[in-house]
């Protein structure tokens, strides 16, 4: 493992900030707390308050509405497919990129980042321009009676696209930092690649992997932009939960909109808690490892 560069350490000591004074300290803390309150806590409270504004009956009616349930199902389906695909892809891609040398590696790394850089609406439009009625693949798809955009496959594709980098991006730096030493040792001892992967590589990255999967799930559940473009807003068919919330909001059904939003908010909170547990456990295990 690489040792810290002494020059760098010296620099860091010099950079250590001077005591900013009590007033500045408390102003900064106050600003931070105010920011968190206004930007994070207040919206959450608003959602919950609005959701229950007209009582429990309206709330439960909104979340048991057949369209809401269908939307939830579609969102879950898209999320599960996207997470599974992106997990497999992320595992293989990070393995390929961090443990092997091949031509075009840099290019592949860049490709993986595209969904991060591109606006979701462009992602959606690209699918429409390819698979839509005026897209170049339309005639081909028609002969086999396959419908991609304005149907469930389009929604799944769009979700996969926007959540594509999450797992891979989480794993690549981790695996690069770990290096190849242990794998090489295992290979020398005659282990097959699958054994190496299972017994050496995977245990090292399992927390990072879980973390990536959780982030990917969170993003997939809430995806709005790209899905909105390819959905066509067919109720009960291609409406995901975020789209359903927009519809309810536009129908003046504020309470229902916030009630359904609260499902997403609660899942988000659960996911955040899971994330923290994973992060904590991962760090703990890592610490033990170093010791």
């Amino acid at each position: 493992m690489n040792l810290a560069n002494p020059a760098e350490t010296a620099n860091r000591v010099q950079e250590k900030p001077r005591d900013p004074g009590k007033a500045a300290k408390y102003t900064l803390i106050g600003l931070g707390v105010a920011f968190i309150l206004i930007m994070l806590v207040l919206p959450l409270i608003t959602v919950c308050v609005y959701a229950l504004k007209q009582g429990w009956d309206v709330f439960s009616q909104a979340i048991t509405d057949p369209y809401a349930i269908k939307a939830l199902r579609l969102t879950l389906l898209a999320t599960v497919v996207a997470v599974v695909c992106n997990t497999f892809f992320g595992l293989f891609a990070s393995w390929a990129i961090s443990k092997f040398h091949f031509r075009g590696k840099q290019f592949l790394t860049t490709l993986i980042d595209i969904p991060f850089a591109i606006s979701p609406i462009i992602a959606g439009l690209v699918f429409i321009l390819v698979f839509g009625r005026i897209g170049w693949a339309y005639d081909f798809l028609q002969t086999y009676d396959i419908k991609v955009v304005f149907a469930v496959p389009g929604i799944i594709l769009a979700t996969i696209f926007v959540t594509f980098p999450f797992v891979a991006r989480e794993l690549i730096p981790l695996m690069q930092a770990q290096g190849n030493d242990e794998e090489e040792a295992a290979a020398l001892m005659g282990a097959k690649w699958w054994t190496i992967y299972r017994k050496v590589t995977l245990p090292h990255i399992k927390w990072g992997l879980l973390y990536g999967v959780i982030l990917c799930t969170a993003r997939a559940l809430g995806e709005f932009g790209a899905v909105s473009v390819v959905s066509g807003h067919l109720r009960g068919k291609t409406n995901t939960l975020p789209l359903h919330i927009e519809i309810l909001f536009n129908e003046f059904q504020l309470t229902a909109a916030f009630a359904v939003s609260s499902i997403l908010v609660v899942t988000a909170i659960i996911i955040l808690i899971l994330r923290n547990i994973v992060e904590f456990k991962g760090r703990k295990e890592e610490g033990e490892h170093v010791r």
Binding site: I128, I146, A187, W193
Partner: protein
């Protein structure tokens, strides 16, 4: 030596890994493909059986514009009962709502609608141009395929604090107007044309003066949403602006939701807004839903449906039923029409809304 072994292993493993990576990347595509194929097949099976014997259920998709949500919610139930009685078949109706132009665009791009019920003849004409609807659709149903009409009115805050009575009041300094963008919204085009009609009537049909009037109107616009419903939400829920140029039905709906907060002001001149309905021939033929789709639109002209339109604050096209709603609608309002006063949509679009036309000219400055 160690490095050598690893490198050797690299050489024959990396191909496997690369292959696997590509395979996994391609897997979802393949999965979706087969998934879609299945969906397609079931749809086809339904369609095919629809032609031979009467299947128990049929499904149609109605792609509509923003403010018709409540109307079609109610009408679909009415039609389901009617169709069940007529043919013994259950019909499922899938609704989609959004800005009229945006909705037409999505149908053009492959959103498979059996029928479209849009805000503008023009948006349906786009589908005709795209080859989805056969020419002559305007005459397919009564009253130029407009089963219900509406008009443009002002929605103001309770007590009318800015004293808005007519079009010349909203162009005054300090009045904030909310209206959607005529480039994307059907309702907004009717707004624009209604204002133009007023200006023409008051300026002795002087184009330059009318353009000036419209320009001062759009100078007062503070939020230009993409669709009529978005504009209503901006005005009603987000409390922006002093006056909303709104569909009459949309204005009534806002009053129904918030009876203490708003009132409707009817200007001296407005426009007869004629939303268009049409069967999307290509899709209906492909799915074998022509009969039910045609009946779906035809039944909009029945007395029951016309009443339903009136109850949802659309002006019924049947004059007898319209008269029954004289308490609701201001029937004395002078209404200009697109055909008589603007020479049809094509001419109006070219003059006002095409790229570089009057709207672009006034909005750029």
């Amino acid at each position: 030596m160690m490095g050598f072994t690893w490198a050797q292993m690299n050489a024959w493993r990396k191909k496997t890994v690369l292959g696997l990576t590509l395979l996994v990347a391609a897997a979802p595509l393949a999965a979706c493909g087969s998934n879609a194929a299945n969906n397609g097949n079931t749809a086809e099976a339904q369609g095919a059986s629809g032609e031979t014997s009467a299947p128990a259920a049929v499904e149609i998709t109605n792609v509509s514009y923003d403010p018709t949500r409540e109307l079609y919610d109610a009408y679909n139930k009415l039609f389901q009962a009617h169709w069940k009685e007529k043919s013994g078949q259950d019909v499922g109706i899938i609704q989609s709502h959004g800005g009229s132009g945006k909705q037409a665009r999505s149908v053009l791009e492959g959103n498979e609608a059996d029928v479209v019920t849009l805000a503008l003849e023009q948006d349906v004409a786009e589908l005709e141009k795209g080859g989805l609807i056969e020419p002559g659709w305007v005459g397919e149903f009564d009253k130029q395929s407009s089963p219900y009409t509406s008009t443009i009115v002002f929605l103001v805050r309770k007590g009318n604090p800015k004293g808005i009575k007519d079009w010349d009041d909203i162009v005054k300094n300090g009045v904030e107007i909310i209206t959607p963008n005529p480039k994307t919204s059907g309702g907004a085009r009717w707004n624009f044309l209604a204002a133009w009609a007023y200006a023409q009537a008051h300026d002795g049909a002087d184009e330059a003066k009318s353009t000036e009037f419209i320009k001062s109107l759009y100078n007062n616009v503070t939020v230009l949403d993409t669709g009529a419903r978005g504009a209503t939400t901006t005005f009603v829920e987000n409390n922006q602006g002093d006056v909303l140029l709104a569909w009459e039905n949309e204005a009534f709906l806002s009053i129904k939701e918030h009876p203490d907060d708003y009132e409707i002001v009817t200007p001296s001149i407005s426009i007869l807004a004629q939303p268009s309905v049409a069967v999307v021939d290509e899709i209906a033929k492909k799915r074998g839903t022509e009969k039910v789709s045609t009946e779906y639109l035809q039944y909009l002209y029945s007395d029951e449906a016309q009443k339903l339109a009136g109850e949802n604050y659309y002006r019924p096209s049947n004059p007898d039923i319209l008269a029954q709603f004289s308490d609701t609608f201001n029937l004395d309002l002078k209404l200009v029409t697109i055909d008589d006063d603007f020479g049809g949509w094509e001419a109006a679009t070219e003059k006002f809304f095409a790229d570089g036309a009057i709207f672009d000219q006034i909005y750029r400055k």
